[in-house]
């Protein structure tokens, strides 16, 4: 069993190398004709070696018994193989690879000292590999499974792909002939790779956006993802059977239908919209009602052998639909009841923008369709930015440009606090804010910003230090106070750094989630991040609404990003931390 798997893996490797060598051979083959005469011999040798290796690899890959077992008649397969193993095994494999790399580097080293260093590194990697192996073997349930498979091509597809590749390699070799066109081949490959990469990175975004414009029926499809949203045609329809009315509930406009006649004047309304209070009933005066149309779905169906087109005027519980016919003309305005599943909605390509207003109308009424969330978030963002910029810059100014006893130790202390994880102070801070009575208010989320943050102070200090002393001295001679010097002379000098901090604080405040989760209870005080999480847990089953709301929460951030891109990028370079 193991040998079969091993042979399959080896065969796969051989075939991949074989194909690579084949294209290499093609490349050098073209070079024979296009390259300068001086390199012809070298090119010929390279071509012959490549072709020989390709033949060997492909033959080996094709002849190995396990490779033939899995092949199907009439289909060409590019074999692939994958090892399913626990991460400990992967760690060991990677570490062993690194051992090899270090040894190769040691062999290439220029001097003994460098070689020693590489050998040491190889030793460390070996230890790591042993460590992972021990972890792997300690767990008796660990196994390594080999998945054998291949990418199938129909013969025709395979031939066409192969010819295209050969032509592509040829074209590249041809382009490399002269200095003027040498960059083309590389440029095209790089651009193609970048476009493909951007496509992959953009795909989740595209999926988010498209989902937010899709109707529910397009969310799930066994034929693969639906990328082109379509909308069902709807027309205004005044329903004589159950008219839709607009009314006012505590100053808010609502839509609903009459479900009970209380007396001559008063009726009971069942609210349909906004969706957040959908299902709530209200009593109102008949005179205050104003009839509004509902949106009726346009469908096609087959009624008694004629195909008809009409609007759905009533949905029955069991899925039957009552359709008022529009076409053909001779049946116009007749009504038919169509059995369940026999109507086909009339749909055309378009964006189902209704998801956006409807997702907002799901939000609790006291949030004014989410406007209160936005207000809270903006409040947090603005106050945090003001607080952080002011406090961090003034503290940093004192630490970098002013002399005072205890500066060194205090500064070291401040640097040390950068290590402190927020988790340590989370609980006692909660108790402090509790004793201040600040739970369920926004204060705990922005007040701390007014007390400076170590990282920002440290960052700004680097900038303050670079400002020439002369500037400050001149100001002092002119009789500027320290505050004035700071405000009018120094602060303008560090604008780029302030811009970076502005961006960071903006992002931090906009994204803050754990804070609101702990401190905020009522919808009136919630910021967007928390509101989105609650929305997701309430309406997870309605991706259209959820994605629409998610899009709305990220639009302002993306807008800021596009305008201030430079500072985002500078910010990353400044923080020096990537990878996550």
């Amino acid at each position: 069993m193991i040998t079969t798997n091993l042979l399959y893996a080896l065969g796969t490797l051989a075939i991949w190398l074989g194909w690579y060598m084949l294209f290499r051979g093609v490349w050098f083959g073209f070079q024979l004709f296009t390259g300068p005469a001086t390199t012809r011999d070298a090119n010929r040798r390279a071509m012959l070696t490549s072709v020989a290796l390709a033949a060997l690899g492909l033959a080996l890959g094709w002849l190995l018994p396990p490779m033939r077992e899995t092949s199907t008649e009439g289909v060409w397969r590019l074999p692939i193989v994958w090892f399913v193993m626990p991460f400990t095994a992967w760690g060991a494999v990677v570490a062993l690879l690194m051992v090899g790399v270090r040894f190769v580097q040691a062999a290439q080293a220029l001097n003994g000292r460098e070689a020693l260093g590489k050998h040491k590194a190889a030793g460390i990697w070996l230890l790591v590999a042993i460590g992972f192996s021990v972890l792997y073997f300690r767990e008796p349930a660990n196994t390594i499974a080999v998945l054998k498979g291949g990418i199938p091509f129909g013969i025709n597809t395979a031939v066409v792909t192969l010819l295209l590749l050969v032509a592509g390699v040829g074209a590249m070799a041809f382009a490399a002939r002269s200095t003027a066109t040498r960059g083309f081949a590389k440029g095209i490959v790089v651009q193609a790779a970048l476009i493909a990469g951007s496509f992959v990175f953009g795909l989740p975004f595209a999926y988010l956006l498209i989902t937010s414009f899709k109707e529910d029926r397009d969310m799930s499809s066994p034929e693969g993802i639906i990328w082109v949203p379509r909308v069902t045609e709807r027309v205004d329809y005044f329903d004589p059977r159950q008219p839709m009315y607009e009314a006012s509930l505590n100053g808010q406009m609502v839509e609903g239908v009459i479900i009970e006649e209380l007396d001559a004047d008063r009726v009971k309304i069942d609210i349909y919209r906004p969706l957040s209070i959908r299902g709530v009933t209200m009593d109102t005066l008949r005179s205050e009602l104003k009839e509004v149309p509902r949106k009726a779905e346009v469908v096609t169906a087959n009624a008694d052998g004629t195909s008809i087109r009409g609007i759905v005027i009533e949905d029955f519980e069991d899925g039957r639909k009552k359709v008022k016919i529009q076409q053909p003309a001779e049946l116009k305005d007749q009504e038919r009841i169509i059995p369940a599943g026999e109507t086909e909605p009339v749909r055309h390509i378009g964006l189902n923008v209704r998801n956006y207003p409807e997702s907002l109308s799901y939000l609790p009424p006291e949030t004014q369709f989410g406007l209160v969330y936005l207000k809270n978030t903006l409040l947090l963002v603005v106050l945090s930015i003001i607080g952080t910029l002011f406090s961090s810059s003034i503290v940093s100014y004192a630490f970098s440009r002013m002399r005072f006893p205890g500066r060194g130790p205090l500064f070291s202390l401040m640097l040390a606090t950068m290590m402190l994880p927020g988790a340590v102070t989370l609980l006692p801070q909660f108790l402090i804010f509790r004793s201040l009575g600040w739970i369920d208010t926004l204060y705990p989320l922005w007040v701390p910003a007014f007390f400076g943050s170590a990282f920002n102070i440290f960052l700004l200090r680097q900038f303050f230090m670079n400002i020439p002393m002369e500037l400050e001295d001149a100001a002092k001679i002119d009789g500027c106070s320290y505050l004035r010097t700071f405000w009018s002379i120094m602060l303008p000098q560090i604008k780029p750094a302030l811009a970076v901090i502005f961006i960071w604080t903006f992002m931090g405040a906009w994204n803050n989630f754990m804070g609101p989760l702990i401190y905020i209870n009522s919808p009136e005080n919630m910021p967007l991040s928390y509101a989105l999480q609650l929305f997701a847990s309430d309406r997870g089953g309605e991706p259209g609404y959820l994605m629409a709301f998610a899009t709305l929460t990220m639009v302002p951030v993306l807008a800021i990003f596009f305008f201030f891109q430079r500072y985002f990028i500078e910010g990353v370079a400044l923080s020096g931390l990537g990878g996550r």
């Binding site: 692939i80 054998k148 498979g149 199938p152 440029g187 970048l194 989740p204 799930s220 499809s221 693969g224 505590n250 069942d270 349909y272 299902g279 009933t281 519980e317 069991d318 207000k375 406090s391 003034i394 004192a398 002013m402 002399r403 006893p405 290590m419 994880p421 927020g422 988790a423 340590v424 102070t425 989370l426 609980l427 006692p428 402090i432 509790r434 701390p448 007014f450 400076g452 102070i457 811009a499 989630f513 702990i518 209870n521 919808p523 009136e524 991040s529 989105l532 609650l534 847990s537 997870g540 929460t553 990220m554 596009f562 305008f563 201030f564 370079a573 931390l577 990537g578 990878g579 996550r580």
Partner: protein, 817 residues
């Protein structure tokens, strides 16, 4: 900056106008003369006409009260919100609370006792009386001889089976010696039926599941109760989760899942289930399930044609035949019931109004208003309302008189629920009800995923529950603390320190100018100093102090010494190792992958002649998507159902046919949850690319020039010039990534599939800070949470020290640039 100013000003203007607008909108509302009664745990929807009518009627009778309902996710399983609000003195007035946890909350003094109110209102016809209620529900809502909640619903579980599928597979069932006209009655039969009824697709995914032990609502409780397992000793001081009976029950569940291809596969299958007409049971994707009476209305509405059977849940063979351990067992059948109740949290602003609300809503009159309105609504919609069994016997009798049996099969099902009521067992009322529930879920998952044997899994859970029990019952062993004293000492020390600093400053030999400058400087750094004392140093000391105490904020603190740390190292060792292991995985796998992706993109970008800015924007954009939005987005992208989830839709088209592997369950599966998070991290790794770009630009071109003069190919250049600098960067970033991963919280909170029990399947998404958050804000175990915080801190200090020690080795790279 100059170019950006108009934009900045514009942004601020928009911000301010929205602020002003929203402020104005808030003021437009009519002045409230009525008191707001905030009720958590009730959701209104298009079909909740009954609740709505009862609320309106209550408001009509109490014109001074306006009821505000919020679902809040509270009252159900995630207790964090309620606990924080009670501790923070902003509690809601009424909470609709899962009844089994009432004793838990009551024991901590988080609910108000209702006895005095009931005593006072004896003459009020709405006043609840214990004789109206099933004893078990009343007992469940009481603690220590006092009533803390008024029961509302009472539900039990029966076996639902789809007769149509039984008929469809009649031949196969008969061939297996099974009767297709009746439901299984014993465990052995249940498994045998499931084996016949389960079908798989060609690609190995499930087509139909015969029976999935935990689909619907059974949990380990169901099967353990059938084995007569007790979860708590009679005195309530010892947890017996790991009894041989419970082990057998859990083993049965494992066996049950084996038939449908394992828990992982079943979960993947479930994630594709839809609601309403397409409910998995209605459309026959599931042949049998154990579930409660709450599903009947939905079945009657969305699947009236279903050929429904309802039977007692199958029991162990010995119990059915009344032999062996069950020789003297009087009850052949077993089920368990749960349900909700209304309680008033401590700190409620309007306890009097809250009590009036509870009285009305739980009175037979109030319940009947609810029922009548709902029935009327459903009648008008052409549906039959199937009443829910409530905790009030009086109401049940009244409502059954009004209920006309429309469809026999649904009436039979309801009858089955009422009949099974006599065999109902309740979850043990205990002071650690929530913990017991969570640990029971975790143990169940660990065993079903086969990460542990049932015995190991239950033993782990039992130890965790017992620790909390001991903490509660043996708290007198630890001395009580008056926290006011340390706070006062702390403030005094701070003041003394400040005074010392002033004295020290005055004794410095400084000139006049220097002195002025120093005074200004102190003024300037004052924000940081105050912030440091109040928000950093004070809390640090406090947190260190808390880590040696046991304190839930609501009650007195106790000094327990190093017990919290010892517990973390013993009882909680496995879970803590898991949390740190998850962080290590996310950093160890995620960071190198993210850096590698970033490097690849950066190399390409560096080589690209044009379009650099556009591409850079494209690749960097994911990194700035707000965390919660990106978690929501990825939950959708990673949906396991290949008809919906982007990734699995591609998987189905590529990897499935190529390698014959069916699409994984991603965040719904214990094995794939972390890779899912890593994938998401790689997508957002744009900052890595920016760093590499800066770094690549920084690599001295002379190096490249020199090497290309030596005839090095680009590949060789990368290998010899770029690559040697990588490993140290990767190492540095991985360590930093680990520090970050330990503190990750947001996306796990949003993406975890269930809000109770394990964080992610089998705790695959648990991070140390998540654990801390749970301890701190769900259970208010200040001591344990602080201890975790300090362990994290210690690890960070050690790692940072290592980085510093190794730094000189990296510096030569830095200096090279």
């Amino acid at each position: 900056m100059r170019r950006c100013r108009p934009v900045l000003v514009g942004f601020l203007a928009v911000a301010l106008s929205v602020l002003a607008g929203a402020q104005g909108a808030g003021q437009n509302q009519p002045a409230a003369e009525r008191t707001d009664l905030v009720v958590w745990g009730i959701g209104l929807g298009p079909d909740s006409k009954g609740t709505d009518a009862a609320l309106r009627e209550f408001e009509r009778r109490n014109p001074d009260i306006r009821v505000k309902t919020l679902t809040m996710g509270a009252g159900a399983m995630d207790p964090q919100k309620l606990m924080t609000s009670i501790v923070g003195n902003v509690a809601p007035d009424v909470i609709s609370q899962d009844r089994f946890t009432v004793s838990d909350w009551a024991s901590r003094g988080a609910f108000l006792p209702l006895d005095e109110l009931m005593q006072r209102d004896q003459d009020d016809p709405l006043n609840p009386r214990s004789d109206q209620y099933y004893d078990a529900t009343w007992i469940e809502a009481s603690y220590g001889g006092k009533v803390y909640a008024i029961p509302s619903s009472a539900d039990n579980r029966v076996l639902y089976w789809n007769r149509a599928i039984f008929k469809l597979k009649a031949k196969e069932l008969r061939a297996a010696g099974l009767d297709p006209d009746r439901a299984p009655q014993t465990w052995t039969e249940l498994l045998a039926y499931s084996r016949v009824l389960t079908e798989f697709n060609k690609d190995g995914t499930l087509k139909r599941a015969g029976f999935m032990p935990n689909f619907g609502n059974s949990w380990l409780y169901m099967f353990a109760f059938m084995m007569n397992a007790e979860f708590m000793s009679a005195d309530g001081r010892t947890c017996t989760l790991n009894s041989p009976e419970a082990q057998k029950a859990l083993q049965f569940m494992v066996d049950g899942y084996e038939i449908v291809g394992g828990y992982d596969k079943a979960k993947s299958f479930e994630s594709g289930f839809l609601g309403r007409e397409n409910d998995a049971f209605i459309i026959g994707k599931v042949a049998m399930k154990i579930d409660g009476d709450w599903i009947l209305s939905g079945l009657a509405r969305y699947g009236p044609q279903i050929d429904l059977g309802a039977s007692p849940p199958p029991v162990p063979d010995d119990r059915f035949h009344q032999r062996g351990a069950f020789a003297n067992e009087p009850n052949k059948w077993v089920t368990w019931f749960g349900g909700f109740s209304y309680a008033i949290p401590r700190g409620a602003r309007n306890p009097e109004a809250a009590w009036r609300f509870i009285k009305f809503m739980s009175s037979t009159e109030g319940r009947l208003i609810d029922f009548d309105a709902q029935r009327e609504w459903d009648r008008r919609q052409g549906r039959t309302l199937i009443p829910r069994v409530s905790a009030s016997e009086e109401y049940n009798e009244a409502v059954l008189k009004r209920f006309n049996y429309a469809d026999k099969k649904f009436a039979d099902a309801l009858g089955m629920h009422i009949e099974m009521g006599t065999f109902g067992k309740g979850r043990p009322p205990t002071v650690v009800a929530q913990t017991l529930w969570n640990e029971h879920v975790k143990a169940m998952e660990a065993a079903l995923y086969k990460n542990k044997t049932p015995e190991q899994a239950l033993a782990t859970g039992q130890a965790a529950v017992q620790r909390d029990l001991d903490a509660y019952f043996q708290k007198d062993r630890y001395p009580e603390l008056d926290l006011g004293v340390p706070v006062r000492i702390g403030i005094l020390l701070a003041l003394l320190g400040l005074a010392a600093a002033v004295v020290w400053f005055l004794r410095q030999q400084l000139g006049r100018l220097e002195r002025t400058e120093a005074k200004w400087a102190y003024l300037f750094i004052a924000p940081w100093v105050i912030g440091f004392l109040v928000f950093t140093l004070g809390p640090m000391v406090a947190s260190l102090f808390f880590s040696f105490t046991q304190w839930d904020v609501l009650n007195e603190a106790r000094w327990v010494g190093g017990k919290n740390y010892a517990d973390l190292a013993t009882t909680d060792r496995a879970i803590m190792l898991k949390a740190f292991g998850n962080a290590a995985y996310l950093a160890g796998v995620g960071v190198p992958l993210g850096l590698a992706t970033g490097l690849l993109v950066a190399l390409l970008l560096n080589a690209a002649a044009r379009g650099m800015r556009v591409y850079r924007t494209m690749f960097y954009m994911p990194a700035i998507v707000p965390g919660i939005a990106s978690a929501v987005l990825w939950t959708w992208v990673l949906t396991p159902d290949p008809n919906k989830g982007l990734i699995n839709a591609f998987w189905r088209e590529t990897i499935s046919p190529w390698l014959g592997v069916s699409p994984p369950g991603w965040i719904q599966s214990a094995d794939w949850a972390k890779p899912a998070l890593v994938l998401m991290g790689v997508w957002g790794a744009g900052s890595g690319m920016i760093l590499w770009l800066a770094g690549l630009k920084g690599v001295p071109t002379s190096l490249y020039e020199a090497s290309s003069i030596d005839g090095a190919t680009p590949w060789r250049q990368f290998w010899s010039v770029t690559f040697p600098q990588l490993s140290s960067i990767v190492f540095f970033n991985t360590v930093m990534g680990f520090i970050g991963a330990m503190q990750e919280f947001d996306r796990m909170y949003v993406m975890r599939p269930s809000k109770d029990g394990p964080v992610g399947p089998d705790d695959a998404m648990l991070t140390p800070v998540y654990r801390l958050f749970q301890d701190a804000f769900s259970f208010f175990k200040m001591g344990s949470a602080s201890a975790i915080a300090w362990i994290i801190f210690a690890i960070i200090v050690i790692l940072t020290a290592i980085q510093f020690k190794l730094a000189p080795k990296w510096v030569h790279y830095e200096a090279d640039r």
